[in-house]
């Protein structure tokens, strides 16, 4: 069975005459160890699809099974626990807690999982080293560049060794050099540890390293390209 299996996913917003049908019956399957890019123009529904697959949102209709768990019927607290234990996130504008330093930002999900302070510190430092942020453990997000902040976000997503990492346009707020370095980082992680990554992007060059590229348009999957 695929690691992510989505069947007939619909997502509508609004009520009555103002209903917007954003996802229109998506079927999707992602295998363990795959690096998948979801591409499309603005408004195509790529981020909305990612939110459904990553249990951040509930579809109006359809079934989504992630790592053997049907995530649609989960309540808020169960979803939170599921995300904590199974998924990692990289948001487009870093999404770090400004009051916490780099190490503490990375430690957050580890502490929530019940890890001891010492163990979480060691793991966080290792994750930060892994994304090239040696010696910046105590820097606040405001003291780091955009690229560095996004690396902290990647380190946070990775630190818990999640089954799947979801990255929502991780390069959107970065210059091309920083953006490419983040993509290189994700590619390296995928290559070295066969990490499953689902990334939303609208930049074709950033999708090049991916195993599969899913194209969306008007709430539907229009094309799937596999790298040969």
């Amino acid at each position: 069975m695929a690691l992510i299996e989505g069947t007939n996913i619909h997502r509508k917003f609004g009520k009555g005459d103002l209903v917007t049908h954003v996802l229109k019956g998506i079927d999707i399957s992602i295998e363990e160890g795959e690096f998948v890019a979801i591409m499309g123009k603005s408004g195509a529904g790529k981020s909305t699809l990612m939110y459904q697959l990553s249990a951040l949102d509930e579809p109006t209709e359809g079934k989504i099974v992630v790592d053997g768990t049907d995530v649609v019927p989960l309540d808020e607290s169960e979803r939170t626990a599921f995300r904590l234990n199974t998924l990692g996130y990289v948001f487009q504008d870093y999404a770090l807690v400004p009051d916490l330093n780099a190490r503490e930002n990375v430690m957050m999900p580890l502490l929530m999982r019940g890890m001891s302070w010492e163990e979480a510190t060691t793991r966080a430092d290792h994750s930060l080293d892994n994304v090239g942020l040696e010696g910046k453990y105590l820097n606040l997000p405001g003291e780091l560049s955009g690229g560095e902040q996004q690396r902290v976000a990647v380190a946070r997503a990775l630190s818990g060794k999640p089954k799947i990492i979801f990255a929502d346009e991780p390069t959107a707020n970065l210059d091309s050099v920083s953006g490419q370095s983040v993509i290189d980082l994700l590619t390296r992680l995928h290559r070295e540890s066969k990490q499953t990554i689902v990334m939303v992007t609208h930049e074709p060059e950033y999708a090049e390293p991916c195993d599969r590229i899913i194209h969306m348009e008007d709430g539907k999957i229009t094309n799937i390209k596999s790298r040969t």
């Binding site: 808020e76 939170t80 904590l84 948001f91 009051d99 957050m108 999982r113 019940g114």
Partner: protein, 421 residues
């Protein structure tokens, strides 16, 4: 390592809360703590001063009139039986520092009768309370001589002299209007006539005494021998014996010992707290209630302040709250972070308030009582009551901090992340 989800939430909430406090604007933090300190002071000081008015009066009565233990007639008797035997027994108690035996009566005081030319005119008389005392004994016990405002204190063994309470003398009592029955313009050295029933005796005014204790200012004092003659009290049984115990002695223990010695067969023995008029306790409770009510308004204002501060704080971090939930942080951890902040403000404000109360205000008002016509007001802040008020303030503040955090944290995770309504 905390294994339960609740324990983990507490740990993360603590980390988030502490860091938010650390990174907050120092001036904002100072302002909030200042508001909490004022709230604490409002809660403690308002009722403390109101109760302190009565406590000041109570202390004065204890110091200048009734002492620590009061011996009076039994309910079924007119006077203290076998007073001399009672006094002998008191002398055997080392815990008793001093005592005063008092004889009480009511009489008519007449002044200016020698200068009176028109015998059909109104006499200058006043109905007065008369207390017969041993001047030395009384002064040791109640320091009566310290209340002199004119003249001198009674000498032991001298006769024919009287001390007049100031409220019986017109020039001292006129500030109170016509409340008191007075004689006109008398001074030490003047002669007055004291009458009880058919017996009258002339006295020379030795001094005029004035105190915020009515039992002193509305009294006249003469030596006990003359009192007994004037009032025909040949049995030598007194009306009141007031006792001061040593500082290191416990008045309740001394009272119990007096009762155990059998004196309760001859008289009623009460500690000051037992014997003081019930209305004093009632007024204190009323003042306390009034102070609590006024202080409660302060709590409401502080709660609203904390609510607004936490609400704005949480609202401005709504996206981060959504992200924290998105990466798997429990909602209650986030709520707890804001409760920690509210707790910090309440604790810091209360600690400073307590420091100001016990380090400055209480000692200051002890040294410089507020001058009221009927008492020297102090600030009363018993630690146990202060603690209860602090707990009320603390819990109210926590609730005021929790509600806005709960309101923001319960919002849909994705809507918070995306800034959607």
């Amino acid at each position: 390592m905390p294994h339960s989800m609740f324990g983990r939430s507490i740990r993360i909430g603590l980390l988030l809360g502490i860091r938010q406090i650390q990174r907050a604007s120092i001036w904002t933090t100072i302002l909030i703590i200042f508001v909490m300190m004022l709230t604490f002071l409002n809660l403690i000081a308002v009722s403390g001063v109101l109760v302190g008015l009565i406590t000041g009066a109570e202390r004065a009565v204890r110091a200048e009139s009734l002492g620590d233990i009061i011996i009076s007639e039994r309910d079924d008797e007119d006077r203290i039986l076998e007073t001399e035997a009672v006094v002998r027994e008191l002398n055997s108690f080392p815990e008793i520092e001093s005592y005063a035996v008092r004889y009480s009566g009511a009489g008519t005081l007449e002044a200016n009768y020698k200068e009176r030319r028109d015998l059909s005119g109104e006499r200058d008389i006043a109905s007065v309370s008369v207390t017969g005392i041993d001047p030395t004994q009384e002064d040791i016990m109640s320091n009566l001589s310290s209340t002199l405002v004119e003249g001198e204190y009674l000498e032991p063994d001298e006769e024919g002299y009287i001390l007049l309470g100031a409220y019986y003398v017109s020039q001292y009592a006129e500030q109170f209007g016509d409340i008191f029955d007075t004689v006109d313009d008398v001074h030490p050295g003047d002669t007055v006539r004291l009458t009880s029933g058919d017996i009258s005796k002339e006295f020379i005014i030795k001094g005029i005494i004035q105190s915020k204790v009515d039992e002193v200012s509305l009294n006249t004092y003469i030596p006990e021998r003359e009192f007994r003659r004037l009032f025909g009290r040949i049995d030598r049984n007194a009306d009141l014996i007031v006792i001061r115990v040593r500082d290191d002695a416990n008045e309740q223990a001394v009272k119990d010992a007096l009762v155990a010695s059998g004196l309760d067969r001859l008289a009623k023995i009460q500690t000051f707290d037992e014997g003081k008029p019930k209305f004093i306790t009632d007024i204190k409770n009323t003042m306390n209630l009034l102070g609590t009510f006024i202080g409660s308004i302060g709590i409401v204002v502080a709660s609203i302040t904390i609510f607004i501060i936490i609400f704005i704080n949480a609202l401005s971090r709504r996206r981060h709250i959504g992200i924290l939930k998105g990466i798997g942080i429990e909602r209650r951890a986030i709520e707890f972070a804001y409760i920690i902040q509210a707790a910090f403000y309440a604790l810091a404000g209360s600690a400073l308030g307590a420091l100001a109360t016990y380090g400055f205000l209480v000692p200051y008002f002890e040294a410089n009582p507020i001058q009221f016509p009927f008492s020297d007001g102090v600030l009363v802040a018993p630690p146990d009551e202060t603690f209860i008020r602090f707990v009320v303030l603390f819990i109210t503040t926590l609730i005021a901090g929790f509600i806005p955090a709960w309101m923001i944290a319960r919002q849909n995770t994705l809507n918070s992340i995306l800034g959607r309504k």
